[in-house]
């Protein structure tokens, strides 16, 4: 961790968060009294069985939904509680599971949308910067294409760029690489790794893929089935920047075993409880 530049912004503090959906009706306790910390610039990966728990936290931090009890702080400031819920804004960007690039805008128009609409930059300025970003990651040829013309892998990268151009304190990714084939995933991981190491910021990354979790994260937060609680937090102290040969190392295999055991237990419970996959 010493090789990454230290960040000072984007520390998230989750304290005793409980979320109940439809309290007077079906009363689903998605999350029960969860607490953990994410340091500024940390790459936190959340894994666990399918259910509302992981996305609940993302929704609360992003400002899409609120929590039933508890508190969430960002850099010491209260952003979510039963009484107060901050609105979505560009300091907490989300990359959606099935992609949410505007299909009616070209790649470059998607990327510059944030800065322009916030009034932070003039259009020409934003285009310059967007082009630079695309060049740096090798996506220069596609600026005038529409998202549906491109492969999912490229679409996902563009969406990440769209988020990053806003210099968010926190980037939240909800299973962004789900459904991509192994090769594409590898490319995505390298891409994300490059970006993260070049300009670290707090990542809140949700996934089912354990290899992905350990490969990308500083810290893997393993959650239980509903009602979700923190089962275990595994610190991944593999060296940065992560490279693929690490996947064969002894340390890696040890970590994988640790995570796998914890997840497996919960997965069995979830299966037995007849959880429906909520994709």
């Amino acid at each position: 961790m010493a090789t990454i530049k230290q960040k000072t912004q984007g520390a998230i503090s989750i304290r005793n968060v409980t979320k109940i959906y439809d309290p007077e009706g079906v009363h689903v306790v998605a999350m029960q009294d969860c607490s953990f910390e994410i340091a500024a610039g940390e790459f936190a990966v959340i894994v666990g069985p399918s259910g509302c728990g992981k996305t609940t936290l993302l929704n609360a931090i992003a400002g899409f939904d609120n929590i039933t009890s508890g508190e969430i702080y960002l850099d010491g400031e209260l952003i979510s509680s039963p009484q107060k819920q901050i609105k979505p804004a560009a300091d907490r960007m989300v990359v959606f599971q099935n992609g949410a690039l505007f299909p009616w805008k070209t790649v470059i128009e998607n990327i510059i949308y944030g800065p322009v609409v916030q009034g932070r930059m003039k259009r020409s300025e934003a285009i310059e910067i967007a082009r630079e970003m695309m060049n740096r990651v090798g996506l220069n040829e596609i600026e005038d294409k529409y998202p549906e013309e491109l492969s999912s892998g490229i679409q996902r990268r563009v969406e990440i760029l769209r988020a990053l151009i806003n210099h968010p304190k926190v980037v939240m990714l909800d299973e962004p690489f789900r459904g991509l084939d192994t090769v594409a995933k590898t490319v995505m991981h390298e891409f994300l790794m490059d970006i993260f190491c070049a300009a670290p910021r707090t990542m809140f990354f949700i996934t089912h893929d354990l290899d992905e979790a350990i490969f990308l994260g500083n810290k893997v937060v393993i959650m239980t089935t509903r009602p979700a609680q923190i089962k275990k937090i595994v610190h991944v102290d593999l060296p940065w920047p992560r490279e693929h040969h690490l996947l064969g190392s002894e340390k890696y295999l040890e970590l994988k075993k640790e995570v796998l055991e914890a997840v497996h237990e919960e997965a069995r419970k979830a299966f037995e409880a007849g959880e429906r996959e909520m994709a």
């Binding site: 959606f96 949308y113 609409v117 549906e148």
Partner: protein, 270 residues
């Protein structure tokens, strides 16, 4: 030889289209002119219709080569276009606004839903009595038909937009106005254009009825006049004229839609 015939039969679209149309015309001709079947012989046969349609001195005074034909077309087309554009302008705005603002929706939807089931043509008597002049009444009835179709489809379009686009736009710092212009408007365009095609079809239908019931001049009126003067060939030629105009107007809308929605056309694999 047999194989070539067979492949022509199963593959060539144009061939099949022509054969199909030819068969249709032949059946029509046989039923009306050759066999003297009781009801069918009253209907004009296709040859007589074509003769009247392209004649320089048509019995009815209305053919491709008379100016009355084009005057009739002109009246109908102008009425339809005026009503249609008015309905599109008002209908799209109303639909978009209703989809955007929940409070506005709550106030306006019940009224829209109460008025919408009333068939546009049932407005004719009231419209003729209340509005100044028959022309306005006919355009009004056509407008009503197109208007409700447009509003409904626009609304459906707004509701069809994936919630994630709204969430993403908010994350990116959009204000309500930005969301309206960047998510709601482009997102509902596909449905809007489907609605416009429907509205166009409905417009023509209402217009023709309006012209028959209350009009002076125009294709609908001419059809009815032709009928009462026993000029059935002209009636049929005018029916086909209406069909052609309807097709052209829908095709026009589709073409505009394709230009505005370039991203739909360029889908991967499309």
């Amino acid at each position: 030889m047999i194989n070539r015939l067979r492949s022509m039969l199963t593959d060539s679209q144009l061939f099949k289209a022509l054969v199909g149309i030819l068969i249709f015309l032949s059946i029509w001709y046989v039923l009306t002119a050759v066999l003297n079947l009781p009801r069918f012989k009253l209907i004009p046969n296709p040859i007589a219709v074509i003769k009247e349609w392209v004649s320089f001195e048509p019995i009815s005074g209305r053919s491709l080569f008379t100016k009355e034909y084009y005057i009739d077309i002109g009246y109908s087309v102008v009425r339809t276009l005026v009503a249609f554009f008015l309905a599109t302008f008002l209908g799209v705005f109303l639909g978009l606004f209703m989809g955007w603002n929940r409070i506005f929706f709550d106030f306006t939807f019940p009224i829209v839903e109460t008025l919408r089931p009333m068939p546009p043509l049932s407005w004719i008597p009231l419209a003729v009595l209340i509005l100044p002049g028959v022309e306005v009444a006919v355009v009004y009835v056509t407008f009503i038909a197109a208007f409700f179709a447009t509003v409904l489809n626009t609304l459906l379009g707004v509701f069809s937009i994936d919630r994630n686009y709204f969430l993403a736009a908010r994350c990116l710092g959009s204000k309500p106005k930005d969301i309206f212009l960047n998510v709601i408007v482009p997102g509902s365009l596909p449905f809007i254009f489907t609605g416009l095609q429907i509205a166009m079809g409905v417009s023509w239908m209402s217009l023709v009825a309006g012209e028959i019931i209350s009009g002076q001049r125009g294709l609908g009126y001419a059809i009815y006049e032709g009928y009462s003067l026993f000029q059935y060939e002209q009636v049929v030629s005018y029916m086909f004229t209406l069909g052609i105009l309807g097709y052209i107007s829908s095709a026009g809308i589709r073409a505009v839609g394709r230009r505005l929605m370039a991203w739909e056309a360029r889908r991967r694999g499309a």
